[in-house]
């Protein structure tokens, strides 16, 4: 039977700029991009060059380490630029989109009649495979593995996150089809994790072949890592795959229509957005057209994703592969005269060290100022309050800093991802870059184990 899992630790940061429940179909963007940097741990090898014509579903690059994993174009058009960063690392492959999208045609088939290997082959060829990721390490799933279970987190608790019940509501059939595909991939259970606080979307309610788990609690309850930790924790050697509802729907569409159609609904959020709302877009779209005339003037930070885990992009940047949200907040970059000594009635803090506790429930406009300098670890139990797993966060971080892989293993490195530590980083009095330390630990163990 379904169970409700209550999570107490965590923190909901109340920000201004929540998306209104309106979905608009965005105009097709002029430019789209696939960013190899969205995929942790891959080494991209290009198969196209500037000037090449591609269809939606044509490969752009593959992973040198696992050449069967292809990354394909979301639209048809012409490759106009391949942007490289430091040490010539490929940052973006940019496609100038045709007005009418020409899809590469894949085989239409009923997943129920296919074998596991056939399904994997279709997913790999069509470029849908990267939608499946795995724990440990939070990287693209290895097609040679068989996961002990598959997790789908169907609600997002991050600040200003899109309502995942709202965005999938009319896609019941495609969602089920996607589930049917996934069910061939594991011998274990497919966990569909839902929020217990309000009625869930029909697509989830009617889903068959899944185990529905209900959760209630503050962020990071919606993080798949927390859910795995509570339901089916990862031990050394275990592999769990995970994905998200809109990804499941895209997979369903592939088997229904035979096309690589990564249309999804994203929330346009943040205090600097004039009308926060939902937009139906094709993945990889340039945010320039999505945000036009909808951003307040001033020096803003554009984020693909949420304020805790998202990626900083330019105002002409592209939405990242896995993100369902764009957030725009003001940049900081100002000095604060005796800022640490003032009562701070306007300042947001998880502690009650500023007088803003006098106004509970207030929604804040937060900027990107660091509010202090980097220090050594001093305060203790600060992370514990926002970290709901049975893991000692500070000790794990120290093990990573010491590069002690055996100790990292013992302390639970396999169960975590950067995003699970985002709140730790947010509340940290010493302003430690917790997420990048965790990523370093994951990369270290991954190299060691492979």
């Amino acid at each position: 039977m379904s169970q409700v899992i209550k999570i107490k630790k965590g923190l909901n940061i109340n920000l201004l700029g929540e998306a209104e429940k309106i979905i608009k179909k965005a105009d097709q963007a002029e430019y789209y991009a696939v960013k190899p940097t969205d995929f942790k741990g891959i080494r991209p090898k290009l198969v196209v060059k500037v000037g090449d014509k591609v269809k939606a579903g044509s490969p752009l690059f593959f992973d040198k380490l696992q050449p069967e994993i292809l990354f394909v174009s979301p639209v048809s058009g012409e490759i106009t630029a391949i942007n490289r960063g430091e040490r010539r690392v490929i940052q973006e492959v940019i496609i100038h989109s045709d007005e009418k999208i020409d899809y590469h045609e894949f085989k239409v088939s009923d997943p129920k009649t296919l074998t596991r290997d056939e399904i994997i082959l279709i997913l790999l060829e069509s470029g849908m495979w990267p939608l499946l990721r795995q724990r440990p390490y939070s990287v693209i799933a290895n097609p040679k593995d068989t996961p002990k279970s598959i997790f789908i987190s169907a609600f997002d608790t991050a600040p200003l996150a899109p309502d995942m019940d709202f965005v999938v509501s009319d896609d019941t059939a495609m969602f089920q089809k996607g589930i049917d595909v996934l069910s061939k991939l594991t011998t274990g259970t497919i966990h569909l994790n839902l929020n217990a606080d309000y009625p869930v979307a029909e697509a989830y309610n009617q889903a068959k072949g899944v185990l529905k788990n209900y959760f209630t609690g503050p962020h990071p309850t919606g993080n798949v890592g927390v859910q795995i930790n509570k339901i089916d924790p990862i031990n050394k050697g275990d592999i769990i795959w995970y994905t998200y509802p809109q990804e499941v729907i895209a997979i369903g569409r592939l088997f229904e229509k035979g096309i690589y159609d990564v249309t999804k609904t994203v929330a346009i959020t943040g205090s600097e957005i004039i009308h926060p709302k939902y937009l139906k877009i094709i993945n990889g779209a340039s945010i320039k057209s999505l945000l036009k005339e909808n951003v307040k003037s001033g020096n803003n930070r554009f984020i693909s994703g949420n304020v805790l885990t998202g990626t900083k992009i330019s105002n002409e940047g592209f939405i990242s592969f896995y993100d369902n949200q764009i957030t725009v907040i003001p940049e900081g970059k100002y000095f604060e005269f005796f800022g640490w000594a003032l009562p701070g009635i306007q300042k947001y803090s998880a502690s009650r060290t500023f007088l803003s506790w006098l106004m509970p429930g207030k929604k804040y406009t937060l900027d990107t100022n660091l509010h202090g300098g980097h220090r050594a670890f001093v305060m203790t139990n600060e992370y514990d309050k926002v970290f709901p797993m049975d893991i000692y966060p500070v000790h794990l971080i120290k093990a990573i800093l010491a590069e002690d892989i055996e100790l990292m293993e013992k302390l639970g490195i396999y169960e975590v991802d950067e995003e699970d530590f985002a709140l730790c980083e947010f509340v940290c009095t010493s302003k430690i870059d917790v997420q990048s330390i965790i990523r370093k630990g994951l990369d270290l163990t991954r190299v060691e184990m492979s």
Binding site: N235, K236, I303, V307, L308, G310, I329, G332, K333, F335, E336, F337, F338, G339, W340, A341, G344, Y348, S349, A350, S351, R352, T353, F354, S356, L366, D367, T368, N369, L370, H371, G372, G373, H374, R375, A376, V378, M379, T380, N381, D384, D390, I391, Y392, V394, H395, K410, L411, G412, A422, E425, F426, V427, C428, T429, S430, K431, D433, Q435, S436
Partner: protein, 390 residues
Amino acid sequence: MKSLRGYLDKIKPKFEKGGKFEKFHSTFEAFESFMFVPDTVTTKGTHIRDANDMKRTMTVVVLALVPALLFGMWNVGYQHFLSIGQESSLWQTFFTGFISVLPIIVVSYVVGLGIEFAFAQYRGHEVNEGFLVTGMLIPLVLPVDVPLWMVALATAFAVIIGKEVFGGTGMNIFNPALTARAFLFFAYPSYMSGNEVWTHGMMKGEGIIDSFTGATPLAEAAAGNINNLPSVSDMFFGFMPGSIGETSTLAILIGAAILLFTGVGSARIMISTVVGGLVMGLILNIFAVNPYMEVPAYQHLMLGGFAFGAVFMATDPVSAAQTANGKIIYGFLIGFLAILIRVLNPAYPEGMMLAILLMNVFAPLIDHYVIESNINKRLKRVKVQVKVQE
């Protein structure tokens, strides 16, 4: 404010690498960030950050110490006028205390911060805020008539040997303020114990009336004069001789409330320390063979440095146990040992300082076992799973 900012921006390049005053970079940085919270923005990871930083946290602790400090100043004056048998007004009393306590605070901060700045510059670090609290704690745990050169020496010892040799704030094993006190206690015992040191002017011995002994309640109790203990209300409000900031349980409780409400202090440590003290007190009551052992357990909590230690010293996050469960064990043992040492060891009339320093040493060990149990739980999970599969 704008002109100040402009001035700082103007002189800043001189303190950067290659500038004229390169050697004072950390000092400049410390003063600049003291006046202006820096304009750095997030570059990776979370895009927004909590407004709370180390300066704010330390400020809250200093704020929590203020009630104990103010009462301590008043009490210094009160005890002084009591010892010479004179009446005095509230202001006169407070001012007398203020004049005697202020130099100790100034010396503690000047010496401590001076060393901190030097070390920060030497290491190329930013100056840490930890000493803002330590610099206030040191005067509060000293007797009022301690010579100032001793304060300077003890502060220097605490900062260098207690903290900087381990790598600075965040790396130290012992609570620096207690290191300072322990240093004085063992190096200059005649200035840190006995009956004369606790009351301002008594060391000189001029005009002291005969009926005034200056003995602290703990000294009286250790001598077996249980009848000379102050009334319970005097203990609670702090009308008794003792270290500057530690006599008033009420003032300390106000500080505790600030620390707990803001989330800066650890409730686990405070409560478990009190429980540990009560348990030991009750055990002593049950097996009492002398009048001291019969002192009700709850009164122990209000005597000597117990309350101050439990609220401000044991909770120092760096030297305390760091795991949630570890904190409970750590606190309990501090309370337990403090009362044990206090009552049963005739050499030390007060056990709190030694109990905390001892548990500082054991804190990493306690954490180690707490972490081990977490690791074992994880390993057990694997075994259970293997069994199920079989």
